[in-house]
């Protein structure tokens, strides 16, 4: 069956737009559950140690308090191991068993929970809990001397400690042109505008309902089933709208367990909403990562050696690792490549995937080093990339299912006007400001996972699509509506999509840019199955066939999972990003005047949604390059700027002219819908392009982000000496 493509590919407005602009969209903390009580977390104030004593008397006597829970008064939960572990969890170590022992593993760890009639009462009483600590030595300083290789489990999951192809050291030693570039990317926070919140309610039969902010309701259900030793069918997780997450909602964090425990203790539904400050230590973050890239090349620009080492931080209790070094192995054709990945256990909470995990970091390192190499070669940075295009995956030797990176380079360069960029000192001067241009490639591996979807068609011409996936903002509701409307031959407004409920057909994590390549095909397959059930073939409105069958409604399910293409091909989204910056050298301020990004993301289901998502990723890239850093005080082991006035996400005025476009691409080898996914790719390469543009403007090699005014002024002063 070849469905008509009326809606797929067209820029329809988002179907949930009216609900969102009128305040009608309901998020986790908004649910109006009768008899709701409120919980507030008490956080550890030392980075490592034991709880010597905990005095809850004042809190218990405070107005409105229903319960104060500590490790001494909380029942022991089974905390069954997950086997296999979900893809979003670290592969080694053990998740935080909250309120189960007296050990403090990081500053901010929950050490008590207060439940009260109102949120204000809970917070006020939480402030009255007195905890005495017996501190122990803590690792709060990032020191690569203490780094270690990842475990075997982590290595097997695509994050190996050491890899090598060819003779990297030998080739580097003999390379005519070499660069050796250290770089630091600090801890960054997801900083979605919606704080995580959970409402937990147990019914009389011991069934648990969780209204939670989550990118993966099925995983919340499975995790809580394991933590409490419950059958999965006793738990339902509801999350219809997610106020941004960027990875923070992939795992099931300890506060979900706390909410369920609190509701059990007080015999009432309980809401636990994390404060902005608590989000920094009760969900994850992009880990602080330090890197060294060595590149060797021939005078014509062909790479002969890539040696990339990186060390990322993890917690003391879980081994979180990233695919930071994948780009070094796959982005460019190079015969001699070595990667070395190390982890540093620190007294922090466990990091987690944040938009473009691994790749965004690795490409910041690799693409700034490529810029240094281009200058060492005296070569146009764009030409250097062109000289190293990987026509097949250089790591596995497999063909790409599709690869339009060259088109991204060409078209984005043309739209940016790369050939005409200012290249003399005089042309780079605009009054007191300096103008600079920079570019970078972008790359993010594409994957699919297993999912099911259900379609129900009604005789009145309406249709319902159901799956347990989520929509944290990119537009799952809208894009699945488009796929279904085409497959059923219905107008878009006749299709309703219901997601974010674990009672619906199972879906994988809404993350890693896999949702459309996974769910889009499951929905298409469900619609095709329904068409077959009703004995209708071809295309067009399916409702007449339903009416002919005499039924009021008919339903079908469809599945989708990776096929043999996953073994035979490598799949990835590609992109090219060009940046123009303006730098005030005396004050050190950097403004991004223009960004142009060209992307190969496979088929674009909705250009309006896709463009917006890419521009959003670019702006996160501006933050990564210029302002975002969770400042970690190594003396007290605490994030010093755990709020939105000092953790600086870009504001509207920081955003100059942005252009995102898509090169022609349709990857039917990867999956029948032809999409590759576009959430992560939009962040990749942006920060590198900006850092490279800062060099072009100032001649300053900034090897640590964010490139703050202070760092520019300091680098300027160092050069002057």
């Amino acid at each position: 069956m070849t469905p008509a493509t009326t809606f797929v590919g067209s820029p329809v407005s988002r179907v949930d737009g009216p609900a969102k602009v009128t305040g009608a969209a309901v998020y986790a903390a908004d649910f109006d559950i009768p008899h709701l009580a409120h919980a507030s977390i008490v956080q550890a104030r030392v980075p490592a140690g034991r709880i010597a004593a905990i005095d809850t008397r004042a809190a218990e006597a405070a107005p409105g308090v229903l319960a104060v829970m500590t490790h001494e008064t909380t029942r022991r939960l089974p905390w069954h191991p997950r086997d296999p572990r979900p893809g979003v969890d670290p592969k080694a170590g053990e998740r935080l068993h909250v309120l189960q022992d007296d050990v403090v593993r990081y500053d901010g760890q929950p050490v008590a929970l207060v439940v009260a009639q109102s949120e204000e009462q809970a917070r006020a009483a939480a402030d009255l809990v007195r905890v005495d600590y017996a501190p122990t030595a803590a690792r709060t300083r990032f020191d690569v001397a203490y780094a270690r290789a990842p475990s075997e489990a982590t290595a097997k999951a695509g994050r190996p400690g050491d890899t090598s192809r060819g003779d990297p050291e030998g080739a580097f030693a003999q390379a005519p042109v070499r660069v050796d570039v250290p770089f630091v990317q600090p801890r960054e926070q997801h900083a979605a505008i919606e704080p995580h919140a959970t409402i937990a309610a147990w019914d009389e039969d011991g069934r648990l309902t969780l209204w939670d902010k989550s990118q993966w309701v099925d995983n919340v259900r499975t995790e809580i089933a394991h933590v409490f030793g419950l059958a999965e069918d006793r738990i339902r997780v509801i999350s219809p709208f997610v106020g941004g997450a960027f990875g923070s909602g992939l795992r099931t964090w300890p506060h979900v367990t706390l909410a369920a425990l609190a509701a059990e203790r007080v015999g009432r539904p309980v809401r636990l909403a994390l404060t902005r400050r608590q989000l920094f230590t009760n969900t994850g973050f992009r880990p602080h990562t330090e890197s060294r890239v060595r590149l060797g090349a021939f005078p014509d620009g062909r790479l002969t050696a890539i040696l990339h080492e990186a060390t990322g931080q993890t917690s003391t209790y879980e081994e979180y690792a990233e695919t930071t070094l994948t780009p070094a192995r796959q982005l460019y054709a190079c015969p001699n490549v070595a990667t070395r990945y190390r982890l540093l256990d620190m007294n922090v909470n466990t990091p987690s995937p944040m938009r473009g995990p691994g790749a965004a970091t690795g490409e910041l390192f690799l693409e700034t080093a490529m810029d240094e190499l281009a200058h060492a070669l005296g070569m146009n940075p764009l030409e250097l990339r062109r000289a190293n295009l990987a026509k097949t995956d250089p790591d596995s030797g497999k063909p790409w299912s599709s690869n339009a990176l060259a088109a991204c380079w060409d078209q984005a360069a043309a739209r940016f006007g790369w050939a005409d960029r200012p290249r003399t000192d005089e042309a780079r001067r605009a009054g007191r400001e300096r103008i600079g241009s920079g570019m970078a490639s972008a790359f993010y591996p594409a994957h699919r996972a297993k999912a099911r979807a259900r379609v129900t068609l009604y005789a009145n011409g309406g249709a319902m699509i159901q799956a347990a996936t989520s929509d944290m903002g990119p537009g799952t509701y809208t894009a699945l509506s488009q796929v279904a409307a085409d497959a059923l031959g219905l107008p878009l407004e006749q299709v309703r999509v219901e997601i974010g409920d674990s009672a619906l057909p199972p879906a994988p994590a809404h993350g890693g840019s896999i949702t459309m390549a996974t769910l889009g095909n499951a929905v298409a397959n469900a619609c095709a199955a329904l068409r077959e059930t009703l004995g209708a073939d071809g295309e067009g409105d399916l409702t007449p066939a339903l009416r002919r069958s005499g039924r009021d409604s008919a339903a079908a399910e469809g599945a989708s999972s990776p096929g043999k293409e996953a073994q035979e091909y490598e799949s990835a989204a590609f992109g090219a990003v060009f940046a123009e910056v303006r730098v005030d050298p005396e004050l050190g301020t950097v403004r991004v005047a223009r960004l142009v990004g060209g992307y190969d993301v496979g088929r674009v289901v909705n250009p309006k949604l896709a463009r917006s998502q890419c521009i959003g990723g670019m702006v996160q890239g501006i933050g990564m390059a210029l302002s975002e850093e969770a400042v970690f005080d190594r003396h007290c082991g605490r994030v010093m700027n755990a709020n939105l006035s000092d953790y600086l996400v870009p504001v509207c005025a920081d955003v100059g002219a942005l252009e995102a476009f898509f090169v022609e691409s349709d990857d039917r080898v990867f999956n029948p819908l032809g999409v590759k996914g576009l959430a992560e790719i939009a962040l990749c390469g942006v920060a590198a392009a900006i850092v490279n543009a800062v060099y072009d403007a100032t001649g300053l090699r900034m090897r640590e982000v964010p490139v703050t005014p202070e760092r520019i002024v300091t680098a300027q002063a160092a050069r002057g000496r």
Binding site: S13, A124, I193, G244, L587, I615, G616, D633
Partner: protein, 490 residues
């Protein structure tokens, strides 16, 4: 004496008498009214997801401004009309800004959307046409969006404001005017709850002084952009609140050819034009002060009285030369603004005393002024360093200088050594400026924190003084008073 807070809600007067004095407008909307369209993203006035429009009667017409409801106490709504995101779609038809937000894909996750809609709503209803990109940037400076990259929202704003104003909301505005007129007419002191725990809003300075004499321990509240954080973040158990919002004399602005006097309750938004008329740099400083929500609520008096070492207004006013007027049980007194700041968060204010007004010395003939705010993020960012400079010139020679910095000491502080070193210098002899630039290192011993290091602050302070001198040397005659007629007008 009135014992209930009274405010407008969709054309009717709401009376609230039994809430805790610390109750915020956001909590009242979400928990009291069970209307959850207004969101809490940070609870400290940074993200703007909680933005609602607050309308006050101005010459018989209700004028709306966006405010952060998370740090606005419910009592501050007394005499105002509250409009939330659920209230602006009339009869099932979306408001034009809502329509444009849908069409231009202004939402992704949608969590910041209600706040953004309300910021754009006030821009649409109150903003001057035509609306350009700068006006949209200003309108959105207090709304963070992590998904869309802002461009679709900017497009929505420009599109919605490109056509003639839709008149639909005028019916609401007129109904609100009736409701607020009724509230305003009583002229009574507001005192909610009891002597141990209250929200009070005296209607005159006599009542205010009497109340403060009775309760010298009460917290004086102006715009709550700082006190609101004491409540939502520091969990301070403030039980007695005296809000200045009903004292008409504290809202007065007086201008003479020599001075500008701003009452303590004059909001930053209301002070903006008068300050911009003194010097365009002051106008730009006010534009970048917090966000439009913070400027609508926050007051000149509050920014001075809370004594923050990083407040943006005090250094500018100290450099200009400003006097502070205080009043209390012992009568009134006046002191140079710089003398008000004694130490870190320590001010020369007796218990029961309050700031009445600040009197600013305007620029005279042959005066030049510059002020600069250095931040990482362009808008809504706390200054690492804020510097302000006033020079009096005799020809090309500096005859007098006043310099003040924020972020360089525990208080906003002048630079006496650098000021002295500038006197007699020639604007055209750049090499001779060095002693004055060097003197800043003696004037200030800045500290390091997560916003900036001491070394960086010292370098930037020096560069700012250089920038001020270079600019004044470069365009003498252009930006040195007397000003072109258009700018001098008030």
């Amino acid at each position: 004496m009135r014992e209930a807070i009274r405010f407008g809600r969709n054309g009717t007067v709401r009376e609230v008498r039994d809430v805790h004095p610390r109750t915020t407008l956001l909590d009242w909307l979400r928990l009291g009214e069970r209307r959850t369209g207004t969101k809490e993203g940070c609870a400290e006035g940074d993200c703007g997801a909680c933005t609602v429009a607050l309308g006050r009667l101005v010459d018989g017409r209700v004028v709306y401004e966006p405010v952060n409801s998370c740090i606005l106490l419910l009592g501050q709504c007394d005499g105002a009309d509250v409009v939330a995101v659920e209230d602006i779609a009339a009869d099932g038809a979306l408001h034009p800004v809502q329509e444009a937000m849908v069409t231009h894909h202004g939402s992704q996750c949608g969590f910041c959307t209600p706040g953004i809609v309300m910021s754009l709503f006030t821009l649409y209803e109150e903003g001057e046409r035509p609306v350009g990109r700068d006006a949209v940037n200003d309108a959105l400076a207090g709304n963070l969006c992590r998904c869309t990259g802002y461009r679709p929202i900017v497009d929505a704003a420009l599109d919605a404001c490109a056509t003639a104003k839709d008149r639909r909301f005028e019916a609401h505005r007129e109904a609100a005017a009736c409701a607020l007129g009724e509230i305003a007419a009583d002229g009574a002191d507001l005192f909610m709850r009891d002597e141990g725990r209250f929200f009070a809003a005296p209607a005159s300075e006599e009542s205010l002084a009497a109340l403060l004499a009775r309760h010298p321990d009460a917290t004086i509240l102006a715009g709550a952009t700082d006190v609101g954080l004491w409540i939502t973040k520091s969990l301070m158990e403030i039980e007695k609140i005296v809000w200045l919002g009903r004292v008409a004399s504290l809202r007065e602005t007086r201008s003479t050819p020599e001075t500008l006097t701003l009452g303590a309750m004059v909001s930053h938004a209301d002070a903006h034009a008068a300050l911009a008329a003194i010097d365009p740099d002051l106008g730009e400083l006010m534009r970048r002060f917090g966000s439009i929500q913070v400027r609508a609520s926050g007051t000149v008096g509050g920014n001075i009285a809370n004594g923050s070492p990083i407040g943006d207004l005090p250094p500018a006013l100290i450099a200009l030369g400003a006097k502070l007027h205080l009043a209390g049980a012992k009568g009134t007194r006046t002191l140079p603004l710089e003398d008000f700041f004694l130490g870190y968060r320590q001010q020369d204010r007796e218990p029961g005393e309050y700031v009445r007004a600040v009197e600013i010395d305007k620029l005279r003939r042959h005066d030049a002024f510059r002020c600069f705010k250095v931040t990482k993020r362009l808008d809504e960012d706390i200054s690492a360093v804020m510097g302000a400079f006033r020079l009096h010139l005799e020809g090309r020679r500096i005859a007098r200088a006043r310099i003040a910095f924020g972020g360089m000491a525990a208080t906003p502080k002048r630079a006496p050594l650098a000021e002295a070193a500038l006197v007699g210098l020639d604007l055209d002899d750049e090499l001779a400026w060095a002693p004055a630039l060097d003197a800043l290192a003696q004037d200030y011993r800045p500290m390091s924190d997560h916003r900036a290091s001491a070394e960086y602050r010292a370098v930037v302070a020096r560069n700012l003084l250089f920038k001020a001198l270079a600019e004044i040397a470069g365009d003498a005659g252009l930006r040195i008073a007397p000003r072109p007629a258009g700018l001098a007008a008030e």
